[in-house]
Subunit: 502 residues, 4 copies
Amino acid sequence: MAHKHGHGREQIQFANAEDKQEFSKFPTKAGRRSLSRSISQSSTDSYSSAASYTDSSDDETSPRDKAQVNSHGSTDFCVKNIKQAEFGRREIEIAEQDMSALISLRKRAQGEKPLAGAKIVGCTHITAQTAVLIETLVALGAQCRWTACNIYSTQNEVAAALAETGVPVFAWKGESEDDFWWCIDRCVNRDGWQANMILDDGGDLTHWVYKKYPSVFKKVRGIVEESVTGVHRLYQLSKAGKLCVPAMNVNDSVTKQKFDNLYCCRESILDGLKRTTDIMFGGKQVVVCGYGEVGKGCCTALKALGAIVCITEIDPICALQACMDGFRVVKLSEVIRQMDVVITCTGNKNVVSREHLDRMKNGCIVCNMGHSNTEIDVASLRSPELTWERVRSQVDHIIWPDGKRVIVLAEGRLLNLSCSTVPTFVLSITATTQALALIELYNAPEGRYKQDVYLLPKKMDEYVASLHLPNFDAHLTELSDEQAKYMGLNKNGPFKPNYYRY
Amino acid sequence: MAHKHGHGREQIQFANAEDKQEFSKFPTKAGRRSLSRSISQSSTDSYSSAASYTDSSDDETSPRDKAQVNSHGSTDFCVKNIKQAEFGRREIEIAEQDMSALISLRKRAQGEKPLAGAKIVGCTHITAQTAVLIETLVALGAQCRWTACNIYSTQNEVAAALAETGVPVFAWKGESEDDFWWCIDRCVNRDGWQANMILDDGGDLTHWVYKKYPSVFKKVRGIVEESVTGVHRLYQLSKAGKLCVPAMNVNDSVTKQKFDNLYCCRESILDGLKRTTDIMFGGKQVVVCGYGEVGKGCCTALKALGAIVCITEIDPICALQACMDGFRVVKLSEVIRQMDVVITCTGNKNVVSREHLDRMKNGCIVCNMGHSNTEIDVASLRSPELTWERVRSQVDHIIWPDGKRVIVLAEGRLLNLSCSTVPTFVLSITATTQALALIELYNAPEGRYKQDVYLLPKKMDEYVASLHLPNFDAHLTELSDEQAKYMGLNKNGPFKPNYYRY
Amino acid sequence: MAHKHGHGREQIQFANAEDKQEFSKFPTKAGRRSLSRSISQSSTDSYSSAASYTDSSDDETSPRDKAQVNSHGSTDFCVKNIKQAEFGRREIEIAEQDMSALISLRKRAQGEKPLAGAKIVGCTHITAQTAVLIETLVALGAQCRWTACNIYSTQNEVAAALAETGVPVFAWKGESEDDFWWCIDRCVNRDGWQANMILDDGGDLTHWVYKKYPSVFKKVRGIVEESVTGVHRLYQLSKAGKLCVPAMNVNDSVTKQKFDNLYCCRESILDGLKRTTDIMFGGKQVVVCGYGEVGKGCCTALKALGAIVCITEIDPICALQACMDGFRVVKLSEVIRQMDVVITCTGNKNVVSREHLDRMKNGCIVCNMGHSNTEIDVASLRSPELTWERVRSQVDHIIWPDGKRVIVLAEGRLLNLSCSTVPTFVLSITATTQALALIELYNAPEGRYKQDVYLLPKKMDEYVASLHLPNFDAHLTELSDEQAKYMGLNKNGPFKPNYYRY
Amino acid sequence: MAHKHGHGREQIQFANAEDKQEFSKFPTKAGRRSLSRSISQSSTDSYSSAASYTDSSDDETSPRDKAQVNSHGSTDFCVKNIKQAEFGRREIEIAEQDMSALISLRKRAQGEKPLAGAKIVGCTHITAQTAVLIETLVALGAQCRWTACNIYSTQNEVAAALAETGVPVFAWKGESEDDFWWCIDRCVNRDGWQANMILDDGGDLTHWVYKKYPSVFKKVRGIVEESVTGVHRLYQLSKAGKLCVPAMNVNDSVTKQKFDNLYCCRESILDGLKRTTDIMFGGKQVVVCGYGEVGKGCCTALKALGAIVCITEIDPICALQACMDGFRVVKLSEVIRQMDVVITCTGNKNVVSREHLDRMKNGCIVCNMGHSNTEIDVASLRSPELTWERVRSQVDHIIWPDGKRVIVLAEGRLLNLSCSTVPTFVLSITATTQALALIELYNAPEGRYKQDVYLLPKKMDEYVASLHLPNFDAHLTELSDEQAKYMGLNKNGPFKPNYYRY
């Protein structure tokens, strides 16, 4: 499958043109991705949070060209520099402090080893927090092989620490696209070892296995998928009748959704704006496009810090919520001239158009909290009459002929990925959800899950939440027998119907 | 069906003992209601808001014994005093000012008369706001006959105003149970007129028709039900295979839910506590039992006014939300000694027990925002060692032998019904939802709705919301063709999947 | 001084025309009061909170014409009906529950009787809370005689309860102007008893003594004055060199100011609007005129409940604060057409003019939280082309020829006095401040206070606050010796310089 | 005065031992500074915000040893590298965008050149924002010479840009103590040029002139001092009768105070915590020591983002405010075990003691928002049984023998200076205040200001605020003649009495 190429190291080769095209035209949503991209869009998103820890040494040798061995004599890994393991270990230990839910899961489930026999191949961001997840899976009995879902996001030191303890990791910060597929391949394609569980974030691993090693699926008990894009791919496979194993959509679990969107964005909008622009929020006129969970989080935080916020919406129900929450609902064109900050949270494209950008006032800040890099029509700003001036990392001033400057953050990509960090606690929610989904799928009795995409059972969603309550010293009330009967509930949950809105 | 009884006027008679028992044992939820109650629990709930407008004249003659005629010569109604019509008309006109959504619906739909031919029998609270609904239905082409779903809630003047304009209304404030059923019967049982639509709030009307006039259902195109209790009854019927017409559950529409629970309670908790106790909120220690929509509304308002709020929860997901929103999650017994105010919003029973009440501090205020009158074990306070002292309407001091006073509001019934008013705007949401549900069911093509219980289609839910946006001068954004295609949405909605959590 | 008049009872007689004119032209602020008013403006302000407790019996006999005796045989009082004492006693007991600071003061100071020998004549609102103050003063050794500072605000039952225990009270609800002065006179002019301390609210008592019994001031050790108006009068006297005793301005103590304005208005704006109009706050467009303490309180509360608030200001510093707190700063004329609610908190006159009123939209609510009845030009609405319709107590619809209705609350008088109640806790702050001021002045060594107007010493202001902390179970931290030295502070306070802004 | 020393360049020499000691023992507050420090404490505070812009080139040559000349041929400056001027110019231009008040002041006052003839020697942080101030002073007619008040805070590029345009600047990032005094001396001691105005931040410049060049004060019309420390020094001089020119305390102007404390800390507490620890605020238990303006800002922001905040206070009035604002008031020792974050804002010393630190839970974060580096007893943590681990810049883990980690930020120095940036807008308030104070003192008629310390006149404070209102598109209301008369105010202000609390 993988051959040497001219430069003396392995390169991913496609068996034939169709295969290559298959990878190239693989759409996240119909019509949305250009043909020139052959890995999932999310895998090349800029990703800042990890960067701060990671060395920028001059070592330009590709990890693929290095011979490395860990202290146990293993060479079954490929990382930037195995010698960074100690630093990475400390990062992992620090992360563990805020991921007590996983540590608690380790303890509760360690006796029974619910993942004994599980062989998990994983493709996620490789950070200290992921390491805590991987080491939890190992503690519960699993064997793991791991690769990165994003070419920029790997914390090299953490990858080294994992490799040092014996987890075969294939990932480094700054992979090329070829590296990306090579790593996935090395992860999956190991003599004498065959995965029976897949943990994916973005669907690239799943896709690779599907195209290159379809026979692996005969042994796989299930796929756990984390991302919007990956979930979308799975539903497409399911719809096409091509999904041959059960898959768990953990992206849409209640707990994860609330934390990824409402709670996390409530903090990251402030953080992202502050780190890039040192803006004072008090008194600023802000328009937030979209009043879904992300928009609600942004609006709450900005209003609380004294900004004057209005919103745009296409959905009358969300618009009515905005009214009741104290935000004026406007059309962007009505207010664009007065705004100090424009934030997109719609999931849509070209929400901020060149026409809007032309009418903004001097000093207006524009950023995207919503989706990929489509919401702001940044491409329209790449025109000769406008001057781009990079004033800091992730901050560009676009200068109009009359001297007006508009400040574009992260070139219109996701501010919360590019310019702020995700709190470990949020990652703990996600990682715990993933671990429970793996346990559920791996241990489910034959027949409980068909070849379809499932949401995490509400009871497990509730369990994820309950594992995180001790962080807050929160004490749950238990139903009495009489009360449980009155409510028609099991005392251990689930406590709500599936359609409950929280 | 209705016969004269000894006291010289009609009284509802049951054909046989089983029938009577049927009415008596009819449960809202299994095992919850005592056998001695023969009408829905909600129909006898105390209800204060309307009371302020309604006369307390000394006229003790029962409306059933009065001969009244309106200015058009009709006697097909039974209200307290037809002469109060003018005062009631003004109340209706004032209500119309805040119900522009219904007025707008009248205008938009008046040309086509979408309810032409509809014969609607309705059983709801009879207030100025209901009158605006009824007159909207009439304007859209319907014939209506109306009765009250609660023996206390009728605004006599409004009933008179409706009767004066020709709507047969049978209702007055302070009905007996016998009056209640007599009114329903008079409403349904009219020679030469047979209902083809039912609008119910609590299920009593539906039940009466079901038991007494089952043949009516042959002509009925659908039932629109407003209340938790009534919806529960309908689902039971459906489950038992006894539901013979389509029914629309408007209680669970998104817009109505948010307004009835989150937004309305956010205001009514303050209003209810202030009107009854003149409490200062700043610095008060408050425990809110239950962090669902009602609890969230209460907590938001109290925190905003400077109270120090903690919550109790049985559901770890809601508990985690409370943590993230800044509320300590505790067990009631842990904090009960320190609390200044205890508020229940659980939907459960005996959440505040006698043991809790015994441990409260002097001056602690206890009230129920949740459900019926079960949440606080008020019955346990009816014991010889405790003294009850009524200090104001709806306010009792319960005095312990050592002099400690606990202040119980509304005897543990719903504070928001008993001690505060519901804003007209909230009632407008409900009424508009009801009107659209009636139009939908009445005009639906054969076969769209089976003999089952349906939620309002999301698109109509969105339409209800959109009709209320002009109140806030809110301007919706429209999707461009390109954007709609990108999102895979129709430009006119619905804009969200059914499971969307808002 | 007081003679019988033709109707068979005493009436206040003025010795000569100049005297009478003196009372009539007595201005609170230059040029503001009409000549036809001879008592302080505040003494005839409408005052709702007490009203709810007070009987509306048909007994039309003037108390001045009744012969009443209490159970101890005393006739030295004049109240509506001494038989209401028991009901009044319960009201006092309920008030005591929220006035633990005064009870605590009673206990701490009772041994030493710091007011032994004090003969206090008082003129304040007579409510349950005042009764707790008076009985505290008595417990601390004082003899008291009391009268009402407002002709509407007396709780008759409370006055009866005080009279029953032996405090000579001269007050009832609904006094005439003549009654008002008669009561003051009876209070002061008692054979064999001469006041040595004055507690006044509005300055009418002080003025009466000054004009009629100037010799009393020879014995008086000090005046404690509560109101803006009274304080203004005192400063005028002082400026004119006519103040012959020390006076304490308790109106401007920090604690009282914050509670009377910021904290109290934060709650009463919601209460006043809700009780009168049942308005839903969510999404309402509100303009608040003036961003002082009252305005800040109103804005905070309304914003928290989802209103969209903008403000008007004349002072750039307050305007900048409003910006930083998230409120748009506008001119009233710029926004008047869009507003749902207009609230004045300026202390100024004609802030809302007829021109503004003409441009308001249908249904706009207008009310005054600021000052007297001058802020809204209500007089301009008394014109033939407009129709007034009283829809509830304190609520008028003013109807324009085109049918537009503007809703004016309390005829432009203070909403928080007319339409909401003042929490007992706030009254406790005031009463404790008054008690401490009396103790301070009565016990001050010769020479500490000259014939001037003083603010309460900061240390006593801090003491008032500290007496109220137990209500919140608040635990103060004590400075260590080392810390006190480092800060240059006494460990017992005062803790801040006089100019500290809090 | 300045001589060459052995290493071949000038070094500050003290004439005699007493002089040197004088500088060394110079206290900011009595007893607080160690004798080993010879410059003001604030001048060596860590200061991060500027650092991000400033190069960390390997050029280790001291600027004092470099021969540099600007493009106009001048050598009268000493900066890191004059070639960085272009980059610095861009930073100044960016800063100008958020400092429109100064630009506006330039325009309004440029015609009359109110500082014509002024020779200003300045000692402040040298940042882009200061450059805007300096260039404003020049535009208004002044000649300026400038030096840095802090050895770390200079933005080298900005210093270069100023030097390039002809302002003699003597400052670079990373000065030694000797450099510090040398720069001040070079700034003051210029042949043929004598300062007549001083702008100081910390008092070091004033002190140097006072000790070395006392004759300068004969020409100086006034000192404008910015800092708490410098103001304290001035009051000491004044008290000692040694202040020989008028001085303006701009630190205590209302506008500056509110922005430096309440509004700025409201944002910087979030920013500082996030940048250092990536903490999630939601649900965190936080104790804030001190509820002054800084504490209020911190509490407001943290509460708004879902933290559960309690406070400690020594002052009962502030404690009562905390209660009314919804914060529990506790002693630190009562809650220390449960806290996730401890923040000091007291201005006091040893507020967090070793005993408290010993009882903190694992992972507790401790930081100082208050004053210097005294509030947390960091020294007590420098003991053998504890391990310090630096995990990031400004972040240390202190590890107890049992493995417990406490996270100390900025080694207990000010978080808001060390770990977050100050928004340009806040610096604009300060700079505008300084400029107006200079204009006022320079142009005041003889005799208006004596040899004393003055607060900025309220009218100028209001003018500073009004210059910043256009940033918010805020529109002030003007008093009518009638209203001004009614209020007894001048239509142009001042609008409040001096004791007004805002």
